[in-house]
Structure formats: C-alpha cells, structure tokens
Symmetry: C2
Subunit: 411 residues, 2 copies
C-alpha cells in the first residue's frame, strides 16, 4: 500500500476519451490498494484561450481578475475526472483550491502556495476516496482566487504530495519521460531513466516543458520522489516506466552533459547610455522586482569613458510590456535609449558532470560557431551553460549541440 | 440616483466584443450616477459544452460534480466583465457565488437560493464599485458549488435585486423584449411593451426563453420591477425600450390572448394497465418527486372494468432517463407497460384576459384541427391553455394560433 499523487497535464485531459483513459490509470492504482490524490490541469488549449481573452481586453489587466478567469479551466477538469472515476466504480470527489483550502500569497498570476490544509483530504484518502484537486489554483487570505503561473499544476501536485506525505508524485504527460532534448526537434533524442533534481531544475527553468521549475524546487526541498511518465502508453512489466527525478547521490551513470534545452519565452531589453554610477542597477532591477518581473541573464558592458554604460538583460516575453512601462517611469533612465527584442531564444546545455570536466563551454561555442549562429548573451551556472540567440536559429542550435555532446548515445 | 441590477445573458457576452459592448452599457448607467450590480451568464455555448461533457461520461452523474463543472463558465465571464469595466475606467470586481456567498439548498442542478449576504456588496455599491456577479451559481451549506438550473442567471439577477433593494432589474438579452411569439417562427410577432408577472410566468414556464420561470416567480413575490431589453440595440429617447414586467393592475390594455409559446424540452410517459387502486398515483408521482423530477401535465383515463387504468404525464426531456429508471423500481408497476416519447412539443396560448372571455379554447382547438394537428394532451390554467403535439408540427401550430388570435395587431 502506497500513497500517490497522480498529476495529469492538459494533453492528458484534452477531451473526454483522454480523461477516461487517465481515470483508468487512477483506478489501476486504487485496485493495487494505493491511496490516490489526483491533480489536474485544464483541458489542452483552454487556459491559453482564457489568457487570450484577458489580453484582448487589456494587456495590462488586474491580475486578481485574470486569476479568477484563468483558474476556471481546472474546475471543469476536476469535476469531469471525478465523474469519470465514479463511472468506473471509484469513489471520488473534486476539490477546488478554495474548498481545501490551498492557501497562497497575494502575488496574483504567480502566487506561491503557503499551506495546504490536508486534514479532510487525509481522512478521505484513508477511507479510499480519491481526491481530485483542481491544479494551478489557490486562494489568498483575502478570499480571492490565485494562480501559480503557467504549469502550476505540477506545483500543486508536488505540494500536495509533500503535505499528504505521499510516497511518490507521478506526473503524467504527453511524453514518456525526460529526454536529452525535445524529440520533435531531434528525433534521436534519448529518454533518461533518471535525472537529478538539480539537472531537472535547470532543464525546467530553461524551458523543458516537462516540469515547472517551482515544482522541481519544491520536490528537491521537500524530498518528494517524482516520476515523469506518459499518460498515453501502458507500461507493462516496468515499475518505473518514465523518468525518475532523484537526489544526485542516487544516480550512478553520469554524462558530462545530460540535456539540451531551450526557451522561446524570452525577451531581451537593452538600456543604452545608462549613467555609470553606483546604485543604478539596484534601481532598475529593484523596480522590476517590485512588479514581480523576474530578470534572467544580465550583461553590463564596461564603459569606455567611465560615465555611461550599456546594460542588457533578458526576461519572460509575457513580462515585456509591463517591464517597458516600469522602465519608462524610472527618472534615472531619462535620456537613455531603451531597446527591446522579443524574437530571441535561450538554448542551454545541462549536466551534473560538467562540474568536474573542462572544455564543456568550448564545445558549445565551437558547435554554434560552425553553424554561424551568433551568441548575444551568455550565462553559466555550475551545471549549465545558456546562450541567447536569434529565435529563428533555435532548432539548428539544438541539433548541433545534441550532436556535439553525443547525447544520442547511452552513458 | 438609482440602484440597478443589470443581467447579461449568454449571447450578450458571447465574445470579447460583446462583453465590451455590455460593459459600455454598465458604464453608461454608472455615468448617470446609478449604483450597479451586474449578473452574467457563461459565454454562449459554454454551458452546453460542459453539459455535453458530463453526459458523455455518464447520463446519470453525480449532480454535485456536474455543478462544479457547469458553474465554471460564469466565473470566466464575471472576471472578463470586471476587466472590461476597469479598462474603461469603471471601478469593478468579480464575485463568484461562494465569495459573496449566495447560499442555496443542496438540490444540486436545480438549487434554490436561500440567502444572499449583501453586506459587503452593499458597501461597495455605495462606494460606486460595480459588483460583477457570476450568475447561475451558489454554494451549499456543505461548501459545495450548486447551480440554479438552466437560465439560472436570471434568478441570480432578481434575487440580487431583491437583496440589494434595487430599483429595477434589467435583463439584457438578444431580443429587445417579450414578443407575442417567437419572431423566428412568426415574422409578424409583435413586441409587448408591458406584460403582467402572471403572463410572464406562464410564458417562461411554457418555454418562452426570455426569462427563467423561477426568476419571474421571485420578481412577483419580491415585487422587483423587471425589464427585458436588448443588449445589441441602443435605445435612444426611451426610458423603457424593452418590455416591462409589472403587476397586473399596472397594465391597462388587454388582449384576450397575449402570447403563443412553445417548449420542445418535453417528453411524454404513458403507463398502461396500472392497477386502479387508491394511492397508486401518489406512489408514482411521489417517487418522481423524491428524485426532484417535475411532472407537468397529467391525464388519467377512466378504466372500463374498474381494475386497470392508463396514466399519461409529461416531464422535462432531460429528466426522462432518470424518470424511467425510477418507474422501473416501483413494485406496484410490475406488469405495467411503460411507454415513452420524447418527440413531443407543448404549445400554449397565454393571456390574462382569458379569465373573463369564453371561447378561447374553442378557437385554439379549431385552429389546430384546421391544420390536421392531433392534440395528445391538454392542460389549462386560469390564464393559459396548453396542448401536447407531435414535435414536427410545432411551427405550424404556432403560426396557426398567432393568426387565429390576431396577435400581430396592437390592442
């Protein structure tokens, strides 16, 4: 007997047949004697439609109303999943964020879960009722609906697993695991049977859409074992058909680089002729931070005359309009030219093994240079190297890097 | 300065342009110094889609989950309407049923509003904030979402108007008022400038889709003045461009018949060879009532031998599967044949003047006979006569009756 959280993403609940298929997977776990909580996303395309509606009204909208709108899709799926389970004889009920409640802070649009009251859920799971929880949403102390940001249902699932002390959190999606890169771009991409939290975190934050960054952070911090697996394949004869996300010390085989990831959700802002005085960066990035805009890569050129400098940084493409508004209001930037470009992509290589190997960056830059791909910005961490390039070169860059690091071959 | 509730139905909020148009109407009332609460339906087609999803999973589903699913559409519209109002400078926020809360009983799928806590709304209306309320939904004492039945947003609007002590409840829809019959079927149909609560009630309960029955009952009981008007026309120079629903004594002009209505949401059940003993009808209709199935017309034939009889009744088409299930389980009906037909329609003539005029029924039967339309069941009240006919004759019957009572001519 184990306690599981099973999460089904948008394509896994795209229509009634998919929801019924997912329900069968839940029923199979219940039949094995497991206690199950389910977290569901909105049906594929629904959340995008809602986001478009909000943007059509106004690009700069009240995030509280935006949340009330976009959280609705998950309510539909949660109810339908409960119905599908009941139909095949599994006791189940749906739970919306406010009904549990899943308490979040008040940063609407990208709220953080602060606590989950699992007393009632715990009781019902122990009585073999499946709890179907609407993902992506919570409720604030002011009783307003909040959402956790795109892909937030993963976070709901991991947070539930932690709160319910579940043995594992299985993330069902439209791929059967984590790959060395996107197989739609590189057909030889290889499925990883295990990946470390740290690598997964980099991959997620770098745009591999398998898991949301915050969910991996939470899994790492709460030590929740996570498995990514397919809701469209029936894995027979394998205990762990997907990719297990584990602590680094639980993984034996090691490639220097384990994956090539990319993100098109990028925009670049360049501030030209910024006064080169102490405090200006703090002012700029502080103002953006107040608006909850996350800045990613930052590059500042050395100023020739010591008076003016150029600063380039990247941020999420969706945040660009608000960021530009914010920057225009900073008096210290009067007289600076602000340029922006949202036709950029970030391509990264990730690997725990990188820490103990030299020449990894060199291989990357060489491979890109051979394809005449211009690098606009570079950033590195202990286990990843990222470059910002012209969006139109994305696939070319990914194929070149996958090949340069021999990722199609098993370690 | 007046306090208004403005309700926008599905076609009035079908897309972003329609929502923005509706927001303009709200803004115009605010600009006149009025305090406004808005009740909104789901965008046209959305609720039907959700109902189809639930039925696709199972025709006999858990009504609590059905409610959680189908109530979601209104949440989307409420948020979008608040955004559209904010964009044009009107202070507004959305309210879901549980946030107010709008308390209902636990009859999921057709719940009744028991109370509305308007303290906070009242405060905010007085501070000139528009309250945009998701229609059709409430919350039960067990904290689960309930819905008020199809067209329930009208009930939300009238109940809000009563609770907020509003001066009027304006129901914006895709027609500019209440007509003598459906203008899509009879092009000469005439708009009524005033109609009594009683007539409106009969028209609504008989299928005229302008207002939901329960909302008219509530308007009558709570004495809430209601106006039905178009959200697609800008009425210039008229205080009441739509149809006012008023007390009978406030209406001067009187036709004998004021409208011809119809309902295709009908099914007929015939129980053949029912034991003709006391208590059998109570047993049958009692069992249906326990399942919250409303029976409409009932006809019982006199039994020739005094031992067996035939009973025919009509009910909502959606309730037919559940009704047949219920009937099969009644031991007293063992040996009876149960026949059902859902290809029937109900056509009715309505008029307050009928009370003091003879020959109204005769005109109806004659008009139908001339078109060779067979009458299956007849029922009458003080101000209406209804007949059940083969569904395929619906339009023919309506045209014949509209003409027989000269409804195209003004009184």
């Amino acid at each position: 007997m184990a306690r599981l959280v099973m999460k089904f993403g948008g394509t896994s609940v795209a229509g009634i047949p998919e929801i019924e298929r997912a329900a069968q997977k839940v029923a199979a776990e219940v039949a094995r004697g497991n206690q199950v909580a389910v977290a569901v996303s909105a049906m594929a395309g629904v959340t995008n439609q809602y986001v478009e509606y909000c943007r059509a009204i106004s690009p700069l909208h009240d995030a509280r109303e935006y949340d009330a709108v976009v959280a609705s899709g998950e309510n539909v799926t949660a109810g339908l999943m409960a119905l599908a389970l009941q139909k095949i004889g599994v006791s189940a009920r749906s739970w919306q964020g406010w009904q549990i409640p899943i308490m979040t802070n008040e940063i609407h649009g990208k709220a953080r879960i602060e606590s989950i009251d699992v007393e009632e859920l715990d009781k019902r799971l122990s009585a073999n009722e499946v709890a179907v929880v609407a993902g992506f949403q919570g409720v604030t102390p002011r009783n307003r609906i909040s959402t956790l940001g795109r892909g937030g249902s993963d976070t709901t699932a991991v947070a539930l697993a932690a709160a319910l002390k579940a043995d594992r959190c299985d993330i069902y999606t439209d791929v059967n695991g984590v790959y060395t890169t996107d197989p739609r771009i590189v057909p030889e991409a290889r499925k990883l049977s295990k990946v470390s939290h740290e690598e997964m975190l980099e991959m997620a934050s770098l745009g591999a859409k398998v898991l949301m960054t915050r969910s991996v952070e939470m899994a790492m911090k709460m030590n929740v074992p996570v498995q990514v697996l397919s809701s469209f394949e029936d894995a027979i004869g394998s205990d762990f058909p997907g990719t297990l996300v584990l602590r680094e010390d639980e993984i034996l085989e090691q490639h220097v680089v384990n994956g090539v990831t990319y993100s098109r959700n990028e925009a670049k802002v360049t501030l030209l002729s910024v006064p080169d005085v102490p405090g200006i960066a703090a002012k700029v990035f502080g103002s953006l931070s107040v608006g909850h805009i996350n800045v990613d890569m930052i590059v500042q050129n050395i100023s020739a005359d010591g008076k003016r400098t150029d600063v380039t940084f990247t941020l999420g493409r969706n945040d660009l309009p608000q960021a530009l508004e914010t920057l225009k209001k900073i008096p210290e930037l009067d007289g600076c030219e602000i340029r922006s470009d949202d036709k950029v992509a970030k391509v990264s290589v990730v690997g725990i093994g990188m820490q103990s190997h030299a020449g990894v960056a060199q291989t990357m830059f060489q491979a890109l240079a051979e394809k005449s791909i211009n690098i606009q910005v570079i950033s590195t961490s202990e286990i990843k190297i990222s470059v910002l390039i012209d969006e139109s070169y994305t696939e070319l860059a990914i194929r070149a890097l996958h090949s340069a690091y021999n990722l199609a071959e098993k370690a």
